[in-house]
Amino acid sequence: MPGMGGRMSTVIKAKISRLLDRAEDPGETLDYSYQKQLESLQNVKKGIADVVTAKKRLQMQSQKLEQSVVKLDTQARQALSAGNEELARTALERKNVAQTELQSLDQQVTELEAQQEKLTESEQKLRGKIEAFRTKKEVMKAQYSAAEAQVRISEAATGVGEEMADVGLAMQRAADKTEQMRARADAVAELEAAGTFDDLTTLGTGQDDIDRQLAELSSSSQVEDELSKMKAELGQGSGGGESKQLEEGQGS
């Protein structure tokens, strides 16, 4: 293949040649190639399953955070109506952090969905090529002399090999991204484990470190805005419209 430059082309070429190296006689090439192709298809299926698992995990994380956001909002209101502004501010800071994480998680879930779709398409395409190869190899066996069959088979195998290598690259990229997302999700889980998104009333003293980190993480102006909005709401409605939400919060 003349004129192929670039790192990806090099990677793909290397993969193809590794695939073809083992071929010595046409019969062996055929069987070896076909067997490799089927193995590769299995790997693609595994890759897709991994993406689905990662997606489910992020979705669960996202649901948990959604609950935390609702809970912290309710707690902020409760704290404020009880006159504890400091506690309300802390709750809103945490809610802010949880919301930011939630947005990022939802975006990641969308990305994973797109990857899953793309890999599924690739799998179908590869399946089509492998099927074509299977048909062609029977024709080659029957119609061509050994020497000619050798040439045609390696051409066809190169074509399938390129498709496989390309799917392989796509899976590698998907795996890299999924790994980054997993690290991020783990970090959120750690925050959760540290009690960051937990019921504020269960927190004792000595939470200074978490509070300091949260204050750094959350944009304080946003928190202040929300706090004054909440104050206004509570001041105007004096409990009327909010009592339902408060009760819900206490019930959960």
Binding site: G3, M8, E155
Partner: protein, 98 residues
Amino acid sequence: MIVRISNEGQYRIDDALHGRLNDLDDAAVAAVEADDEDAFHEVFEELLDLVRKEGHELADDDLEASDVILPPADLTFVEAGEEFTGDGLIPEPAESAG
């Protein structure tokens, strides 16, 4: 000429388009060298669109190898630095047929 867009598929391109593809390829290299990320993405998108629009997608039972392999559309600028160097990915068109 057969061009593959990574993670998308293969397209058969009329040889008459080789010049235009090569110009965009060179522009992508220039953008990478100038460290101009926006310009790179613009040129790269244009390059991919030209292939998608003017090329004919190969059927699934077509087992031909590609002459050129372009990176996937979600290529990052950092990755672009490893792809678009020197003469780029599209070979310079030959002076005469051959």
